[in-house]
């Protein structure tokens, strides 16, 4: 399985590795959401605007979220995220409980953390213009030129 992402230009002029997905909202519809591929993040976290768009019933987050800026206010929602597979080979859905920050300035983009990426090998290669998750029958090799 291969899930491809892309390098997207962000508001600060920096190009970052992003995989775009859909999150199922409180009405059963799918909401488009870009995820920063963050290999240092323990958990997948939704941004505050995405949380608002989802209209899901949140639970109190018993596990706190912290970053360099300190502990941030968060909640937990149970939902599904889907990603598209390579070359039109369908979609894959992740079912889980996901954290979401409640303050807009806390996170400008949702983050795909190791609770999700840990199911795959993660390739983040800006010079090669590659962002992808590899699993099951897909592998990568490292070659010396």
């Amino acid at each position: 399985m291969q899930i491809n992402g892309e390098w997207l230009l962000c508001d600060d002029g920096i190009i970052r590795p992003v995989i775009r997905g859909h999150i199922r909202d409180g009405h059963g519809l799918w909401i488009h959401a870009p995820f920063l591929v963050d290999t240092g993040a323990d958990r997948t976290v939704f941004s505050a605007p995405v949380l608002a768009a989802l209209t899901l019933q949140p639970s109190i987050a018993l596990e706190r979220l912290s970053g360099v800026g300190g502990i941030v206010s968060s909640v937990v929602v149970e939902t599904q995220i889907r990603f598209r597979r390579e070359a039109g080979r369908g979609t894959v859905v992740f079912h889980g409980q996901y954290a979401a920050v409640t303050e807009r300035e806390a996170l400008d983009m949702s983050v795909l953390g190791r609770d999700s990426t840990g199911l795959f090998a993660v390739v983040v290669d800006q010079s090669g213009n590659i962002v992808c998750l590899l699993g099951q029958q897909h592998r990568y090799t490292i070659e010396q030129r």
Binding site: M1, L8, L9, C10, D11, D12, G13, I14, R20, H22, L29, W30, I31, H32, A33, P34, L36, D38, G40, A41, D42, R43, T44, V45, S47, A48, P49, V50, A52, A53, A61, L62, E63, L65, S66, G67, V68, V72, V76, R82, R84, G88, G90, T91, V92, V93, F94, H95, G96, Q97, R104, E105, L107, D108, M109, V111, G113, D115, S116, L119
Partner: protein
């Protein structure tokens, strides 16, 4: 909710009807994302501290996600591939790792 996060379960979708609907939505998402990327420098500079939404390859701006979604959905009710984003007030180097 338990103290420890419940493991994420992965499922492959095989239903042709659902896959076709998803593919159509992806195409709308791709168009709105490409539009934003093509106009990123101007939009990100001009609308700091605002919520933006691209729908129907058109920009909508408001103070809250609810407001901007209402504007976008009113103008393009058919577009379920909208791109919702908040532009931080300040341009700062970011370290994520939550």
């Amino acid at each position: 909710m338990a103290d420890r996060p419940v493991p994420i379960i992965m499922e492959e979708v095989t239903d042709p009807e659902e896959l076709a609907k998803a593919q159509a939505q992806w195409e709308r998402c791709d168009r709105n994302t490409a539009w934003l990327q093509a106009h990123a420098s101007e939009i990100y500079t001009r609308y700091r501290g605002k919520c933006i939404c691209i729908a129907g390859e058109e920009l909508f701006v408001a103070d809250t996600p609810e407001e901007v979604l209402a504007l976008a959905k009113a103008a393009h009710p058919e577009d379920d591939g909208f791109f919702l984003h908040y532009i931080p007030r300040e341009k700062l180097a970011r370290i994520y790792a939550n």
